[in-house]
């Protein structure tokens, strides 16, 4: 098999005495949407934080297209083409759509020493991108993020990642707090991101959303990757749930039965 886009091997991360990741192995192929599942505290967020440069790893290696990299900060990760979209925290609500899209990478109008943003270029690109990610309403790119809905905000964040040619877009709970139509919108942006050549890691509590969009499901439990090749087309939701909780049907029935007498 060809070298994957991202490969993380024997990743360990401990916060003091708490071992958040124990020898986690994880990879993402080119043009692939990976669903990352696991119960609370399974280590999903830690794994993602390590990959996005937000926290340093204790030991282990990260390879991008076969090359070993060290991600010491979020800017390192962005420079390596890894873009993370945290729920609601990725945008500055006071700034306009265009200003958010280009934050940190604003195009400059010559002469350079005036340090002046090329706002026409920013607005034009923003308008195109909004259309691309399926915001059909006529929203001017000068609208502040604060007056957009949750789904529109996610769309802007995804549009940004797509525009700046990120190889990997990490979506942390992108469908939380979204309405039905907005959720469908976000899922279709994810698909279009893959179609245009990006890979995605999709983290969500809602397994049904994950099933609708991903190519492969990875499950984590207690800091380890316990399954990394689940095909959503050949596996049922119930089976995946069982892997997440780590209990067999009988154990689940027992657990429920144990709870009953106290009611």
């Amino acid at each position: 098999m060809a070298e994957p886009l991202i490969r993380m091997t024997s990743i360990r991360k401990s916060y003091g005495r708490v071992q958040a990741l124990e020898d986690a192995n994880f990879h993402v192929n080119e043009r692939e949407i990976v669903g990352l599942l696991g119960d609370n505290g399974a280590g999903k967020s830690t794994l993602i934080k390590v990959l996005s440069g937000a926290v340093p790893l204790t030991s282990g290696d990260i390879f991008i297209r076969g090359k070993k990299v060290s991600l010491r900060s979020t800017s390192d990760a962005i420079a390596h083409g890894i873009e993370t979209i945290y729920q609601d925290s990725a945008l500055v609500t006071q700034l306009s759509i265009a200003r958010n899209l280009f934050l940190g990478r604003e195009p400059i109008k010559p002469p350079r020493f005036l340090n002046r943003m090329d706002r026409d270029a920013m607005n034009t690109v923003a308008r195109d991108l909004l259309k691309q990610v399926g915001i059909s309403k006529n929203i001017p790119p000068t609208t502040p993020i604060g007056s957009l809905s949750g789904g529109e905000r996610q769309a802007v964040a995804i549009a940004r990642a797509m525009h700046f040619d990120s190889d990997l877009i990490i979506l942390d709970e992108p469908t939380n707090n979204l309405g039905v139509a907005e959720t469908q919108g976000v899922l279709s942006f994810v698909r279009s991101a893959r179609d245009s050549g990006h890979s995605c890691i999709f983290i969500a509590h809602n397994i049904h959303h994950v099933f609708q969009v991903v190519d492969r499901i990875v499950v984590m439990r207690r800091g380890k990757v316990v399954a990394d090749d689940i095909d959503p087309k050949k596996t049922s939701v119930a089976e995946v749930e069982r892997i997440i909780t780590g209990m067999s049907d009988k154990e689940i029935r027992d657990a429920i039965a144990d709870g009953k007498p106290s009611h």
Binding site: V92, Q94, L95, R99, F102, G104, P140, G146
Partner: protein
């Protein structure tokens, strides 16, 4: 959006409220006393207004980035004291003393910024501490006495900073042009430059800005330095104009300056700032101080009106904000 009329767009701007208030204020004072708009009174009001205004302009950018600086009033008093002490002791020329005062101010700004961004101490506490350190130094160095200042006559530095001339009946100080230049320059930085985008992002959502590779700490430290240097410049200008260098001058200015900035529509919590609003805010408060005295209200009642204006404008801004949010 595009087909909104010009009037509607003007009304929707955050600077509209302060603008109306300023016009009303001027009209009321003028109707009480027509001397209010006399060339002499306008000239007198402007002279000091621009000195405080220089500080307020820098404070606007700093507050947009989510921080504020309480040490500006102390620096306003300390810098001229330092300059004159160096000059009077024969150590340096006036010009070198001036540059030294600005450099010391820049260093103080750097320390403020370092404490806030690296030690993560709120700017309220850091700059409150710095306020006392700087004021204390000014008092200690001078034993509490004003410095000798009369030898500034004819110095080119004094001419450039506060040289005065008449345009028709108006007596204009050079400091007015420095203020206008600073307002245009900083307005440009805030709204047109990429630095301005970073300043707003740093105040609006620092973690998002950091995640995009914006050097939030660098931006904030730079703005603390700017704020200190502008306060120092304003202090020197004021000292040259009035031929006084009193270690106590500038006491309480920090709050008046912050009031000017928030009245103009800049958010105290950061993320949103307007230089035009600040210019209006500066004029509102200074016109109020001047007008109250002119129409015969006791000067001691000044603070009542200032307080009322601040509360009123805050109520208006929050109401506009809520209406804006609801309307989308």
């Amino acid at each position: 959006m595009e087909n909104h009329s010009l009037v509607q767009r003007l009304i929707a701007r955050p600077e509209f409220g302060p603008f109306v208030l300023l016009v009303v204020e001027i009209a009321v004072f003028w109707s009480f006393n027509h001397d209010f708009l006399s060339p002499q009174n306008i000239s007198n009001t402007l002279a000091f207004t621009v000195e405080l205004g220089l500080i307020a302009l820098a404070m606007t950018l700093l507050m947009t980035s989510g921080e504020f600086d309480l040490s500006v009033g102390s620096l306003f008093g300390f810098s001229p004291v330092l300059m004159w002490t160096l000059f009077n002791s024969g150590l340096t020329s006036l010009e070198v003393g001036f540059v030294a005062a600005l450099l010391v101010a820049a260093f103080i700004g750097l320390v403020n910024g370092w404490f806030v961004t690296q030690l993560k101490i709120p700017s309220f506490l850091v700059t409150l501490g710095m306020l006392l350190v700087v004021r204390g130094t000014a008092l200690f160095v001078t034993d509490g006495f004003p410095q000798r200042t009369w030898s500034a006559e004819g110095s080119w530095l004094a001419e450039v900073l506060v040289g005065d001339f008449f345009i028709g009946p108006f007596r204009i100080y050079m400091s007015l042009f420095w203020f206008i230049a600073a307002a245009i320059g900083l307005g440009y930085v805030l709204t047109q430059s990429r630095t301005g985008n970073w300043i707003q992002a740093a105040g609006g959502n620092p973690s998002a800005a950091r995640a995009r590779g914006v050097n939030v700490s660098g931006v904030k430290i730079g703005l603390f330095v700017l704020s200190s240097v502008m306060a120092s410049l304003a202090g020197v200008i004021s000292s040259l104009r009035t031929s006084a260098a009193n270690p106590n001058s500038g006491t309480g200015y920090e709050l008046e300056v912050i009031a000017m900035v928030v009245i103009g529509g800049t958010a105290l919590t950061g993320g949103r700032g307007t230089i035009i609003g600040t210019v209006l805010g500066i004029l509102i408060l200074r016109v109020m101080r001047n007008g109250i005295v002119l129409i015969g209200v006791p000067g001691l009642a000044y603070n009542i009106f200032i307080g009322a204006i601040i509360l009123g404008m805050m109520a208006l801004h929050s109401w506009l904000e809520r209406r804006h949010q609801a309307g989308t």
